[in-house]
């Protein structure tokens, strides 16, 4: 099975987010970048599927050369090869366009993306690819099993889950449940060494026009000091929630 995993390169979850002085861009000073957590679940799932059914796992990322360490990490975890679309994407649509072009050329059976990236949280790229390439799409996918060309999937829906079926090729937007946190693979020394020589190709981004862009950023307003209530005075808390905060 020929599997593609889409990788976003995002600030580590512990990062404090700051912006440039004019508030127009994200300030990456001192930021550690990681594989987007939702994509890491997908990558781990892809490697498991390859171990079971054979085939190849390719990872793809759209970004400048500075994001290559993230792709190398995906190779160290167990992907076979990597593709970097060279450029600085502006919006979901230009990413979806550029990825769709590569997907068409390589004829992947299964395309796994994360439910959203934890930086801009658009959550739009996989569904856009599905529309551009007329592929079956399953969002918030929490389970997947392939037999022949049939895929059985589980997805989260509001207030429960749904079991769905489709025929390959399929694109999914995955999340925890595809694999568990404890299944995630920490690269070992051998993985890190072999990752250095695995193929990483760079392709042109095709210069697709974006349909929207960020104008400015702001941080949420600073909260007022927390009102402390002594243990034993829970009645006071109930009164405050009722009379002052008016939430009960």
């Amino acid at each position: 099975m020929n599997i593609l995993v889409c990788i976003s390169h995002v600030p580590d979850t512990t990062s404090k987010i700051n912006f440039s002085d004019d508030s127009t861009s994200f300030n990456t000073d001192g930021i550690q970048f990681i594989i987007n957590p939702y994509d890491e679940f997908g990558l781990t799932k892809a490697i498991k599927l390859k171990n079971k059914h054979g085939g190849k796992v390719t990872v793809i990322h759209y970004g400048p050369v500075s994001s290559e360490p993230t792709l190398r990490k995906a190779l160290a975890i167990g992907a076979d090869e990597a593709i970097r679309i060279d450029g600085q994407p502006e919006d979901s649509f230009s990413v979806a366009k550029a990825l769709s072009k590569v997907i068409e050329e390589h004829r992947f059976d299964l395309i796994i993306a994360g439910r959203e990236s934890i930086d801009y949280n658009g959550g739009a790229v996989p569904a856009m690819i599905a529309e551009l390439l007329d592929l079956p799409f399953v969002n918030a996918c929490t389970g997947l099993d392939v037999s022949g060309s049939e895929v059985k999937m589980e997805r989260e829906i509001e207030g429960g889950k749904e079991f769905v079926n489709a025929i390959l090729p399929v694109i999914i937007a995955g999340q925890k449940g595809l694999v568990e946190e404890s299944d995630l693979i920490i690269p070992n020394m051998r993985g890190i060494m072999t990752a250095r020589t695995k193929p990483l190709s760079v392709v042109d981004d095709g210069n697709h026009l974006s349909k929207c862009h960020s104008v400015s950023f702001e941080k949420p307003p600073v909260k007022q000091a927390c009102k402390m209530i002594d243990a034993g005075q829970e009645k006071e808390l109930v009164t405050l929630l009722h009379q002052e905060a008016k939430v009960i």
């Binding site: 600030p11 979850t13 512990t14 990062s15 404090k16 987010i17 912006f19 957590p37 979901s92 649509f93 979806a96 801009y120 739009a124 996989p126 569904a127 599905a130 529309e131 007329d134 079956p136 799409f137 969002n139 918030a140 997805r155 989260e156 829906i157 509001e158 207030g159 889950k161 079991f163 769905v164 079926n165 489709a166 025929i167 925890k176 449940g177 946190e181 026009l209 974006s210 349909k211 929207c212 862009h213 960020s214 400015s216 950023f217 702001e218 949420p220 909260k223 007022q224 927390c226 009102k227 209530i229 034993g232 829970e234 009645k235 808390l237 109930v238 929630l241 905060a245 939430v247 009960i248």
Partner: protein, 321 residues
């Protein structure tokens, strides 16, 4: 030209999020001086009568049934109506369905797609709108470069206002259905659970609870407050609670009116997912827990003593009010 809104329903009934987007669409239409049109899929006339209470000028009911997993078919139906109604702004809820349909629709209509929106557009031309970014750690002003824009509104971000429109027009539309490429093999409902995204109050607990057997008091407190239950990431990772309850940066982002965090220290990743809550209460044994810097009200104390007393006080409060 019009603002078109997809009034999502399940089994004929509209969810709270649908009334939020109807209010939002009506106020957007008013600001941009456009008509407001709601689309319903496969509803009955009785179902849709009360949509006019939220200021819409027209309701188009598509006379067809769609499985909720048929995102291709739903997007196709919505785009046909959006084109008939000359939509320049299309509004969806930032629900699982909305986020699945919206991007497809944007490709079909050659529109931009902006999700996690929290307020009506600041201006029409260029179209600029405020959205959440960096998993709740920031807000962003996003600008559309296209003439048409699809927006997905965050749940609990916009207050529902009733605005009766007695001139509302109701029509039924037939569309050309396309074949489905994802089929449903059944739905499993979580029992009696309130949807976390829409819950007005959420009671959440962390590792401080020491074990899954201690969640009974959390559920009792949640029941009393008609609240949803949530948990921190470590708790879902070790399997004390289902993943669907994990709130935080890599779980669900929520914005209830009241969030009660019990035995959760308040790591930055957790706060990112909950800091849109209007009021936050922290209960923790550690006075240095970071949650006390983010919360509105705090109690330093043992959850096993504080929570039962809090339950008693709320019962007393409810019986006297």
């Amino acid at each position: 030209m019009s603002v078109v809104v997809y009034a999502e329903s399940s089994n004929g009934s509209f969810k709270k999020g649908t009334f939020e987007i109807l209010t939002f669409a009506h106020e957007t239409a008013k600001k941009l001086n456009l008509r407001c049109v709601a689309i319903t899929l496969g509803n009955t006339h009785d179902d849709i009568q009360h949509l006019s209470n939220y200021g819409v000028d027209k309701v188009v009911n598509v006379n067809a049934h769609f499985d909720i997993c048929d995102n291709k078919g739903i997007a196709n139906a919505l785009s046909q109506i959006a084109q008939n109604e000359n939509a320049t702004v299309f509004v969806l809820s930032n629900s699982n369905t909305g986020k699945t349909i919206g991007p497809r629709l944007s490709v079909k209509l050659d529109a931009s797609f902006i999700s996690n929106v929290v307020d009506i557009p600041q201006q029409a031309s260029p179209f600029v709108i405020k959205k959440k970014s960096f998993s709740g750690k920031a807000f962003e002003m996003a600008q559309s470069n296209s003439e048409k824009v699809i927006v997905a509104l965050s749940p609990n971000a916009y207050r529902i206002t009733e605005n009766a429109n007695s001139d509302c027009e109701f029509t039924t539309s037939e569309i050309e259905k396309i074949s489905q490429n994802v089929t449903s093999a059944g739905i499993e409902k979580a029992q009696g659970k309130l949807s976390l995204a829409e819950a007005e109050t959420v009671v959440s607990a962390g590792r401080g609870l020491k074990g899954p057997e201690n969640w009974q008091m959390i559920e009792e407190l949640a029941d009393l407050l008609n609240a949803g239950t949530a948990c921190s990431k470590p708790v879902s990772d070790i399997g004390w609670r289902p993943h669907s309850e994990h709130v935080g940066q890599t779980g669900k982002a929520i914005a209830p009116n009241l969030y009660i965090a019990i035995g959760i220290s308040g790591a930055i990743q957790h706060l990112a997912g909950v800091n849109s809550s209007k009021v936050m209460v922290a209960i923790n044994t550690d006075p240095e827990a970071p949650f006390f810097k983010a919360a509105d009200y705090g109690i330093v104390g043992d959850a096993f003593e504080v929570v039962p007393r809090l339950i008693d006080e709320i019962k007393r409060f409810k019986s006297s009010n």
